[in-house]
């Protein structure tokens, strides 16, 4: 028998299972992979032969990894509803970060763009994405980062106009 070849067959099968099982919650994924691994070990230990043909037939009888995972996901077979693992929307995080950093208003504008886009993505994700609060925080900071300096500029301009442009008043505009 050629152990290298049979090991490779088993490894390839387990890798396929591993990839297919990404659809499962992490703890159940780990459990399933471990149980299939144990099954293979047990079968090889008890089997009359473990040459390549025997290993192929063993894996064939186990069935396609995708089928095993769909059996684990099948709602008609599952009493418990599987909660999909939620992911935080990346743009929402970026939006908040840019909102905080401000970057002379450029960050704020980007925070608004990314914030609104993140909200749309989260809404369309059908509950599989979180981060709505982060996106809202990014949007609020974005507007604040634009409106507060803008009001400062307008206020300063009014102050200058009211003072009749008298030369003694320092121009506050440059400090913002």
């Amino acid at each position: 028998m050629n152990t290298v070849d049979t090991d490779r067959l088993v490894d390839a099968y387990l890798r396929r299972l591993d990839a297919a099982a990404l659809a499962l919650p992490p703890d159940r994924r780990a459990e399933l992979i471990m149980e299939i691994r144990e099954h293979v070990q047990e079968a090889l230990r008890e089997g009359p032969a473990n040459d390549e043909a025997a290993v192929r037939s063993l894996l064939e009888r186990l069935g396609p990894p995708e089928d095993i995972v769909s059996a684990a996901l099948d709602p008609t077979l599952s009493v418990q509803v599987i909660a999909p693992s939620k992911r935080t929307n990346g743009l929402a995080v970026v939006s908040l970060l840019l909102g905080v950093l401000w970057f002379a208003g450029i960050g704020s504008v980007l925070a608004l763009i990314f914030g609104y886009r993140a909200r749309r993505e989260i809404k369309n994700s059908g509950g599989s994405q979180t981060g709505s609060a982060l996106a809202i925080a990014g949007i609020i900071l974005g507007w604040a980062g634009i409106l507060i300096p803008l009001m400062g500029i307008i206020g300063a301009a009014i102050a200058i106009m009211l003072s009749g442009g008298s030369s003694g008043v320092p121009v506050p505009l440059t400090t913002s």
Partner: protein
């Protein structure tokens, strides 16, 4: 075509009854996964893809119909054994009653007018 139809109906029945077949196998003592698979496979076509037994066992465990324990084996790594719980015994007893009623009713209809 009609044969495929009948086969499909039986496949649905197999799916629905498999977990009780597993519980029945555990009624008289614990077994490990591979042992369960081998026994179920030996019984007429109960398992199409053997690997699908593991998601089923996982579900039975989450529903507290079975528990697992580890036991050293003579050779090789320790084995994961499945054993039936009191809840599992109860579910199995209920199913036996229901199944007997169902089987008798279907048999009576199928053999109606024969002999």
């Amino acid at each position: 075509m009609e044969l495929g139809r009948a086969r499909n109906a039986v496949t649905q029945l197999r799916r629905g009854t498999l977990e009780y077949c597993v519980l029945a196998l555990l009624r008289d003592g614990r077994r490990y996964g591979f042992e369960l698979v081998r026994t179920l496979s030996a019984a007429d076509g109960l398992l199409v893809s053997e690997g699908t037994i593991y998601p089923l066992l996982s579900r039975l465990r989450r529903d507290q119909l079975v528990t697992t324990s580890w036991q050293e084996s003579e050779a090789g790594p320790p084995r994961r054994y499945y054993q039936i719980t009191a809840i599992g015994q109860r579910a199995l007893a209920d199913f036996r009653d229901e199944w007997a009623r169902f089987r008798d009713a279907v048999d009576a209809l199928l053999t109606q007018g024969e002999g």
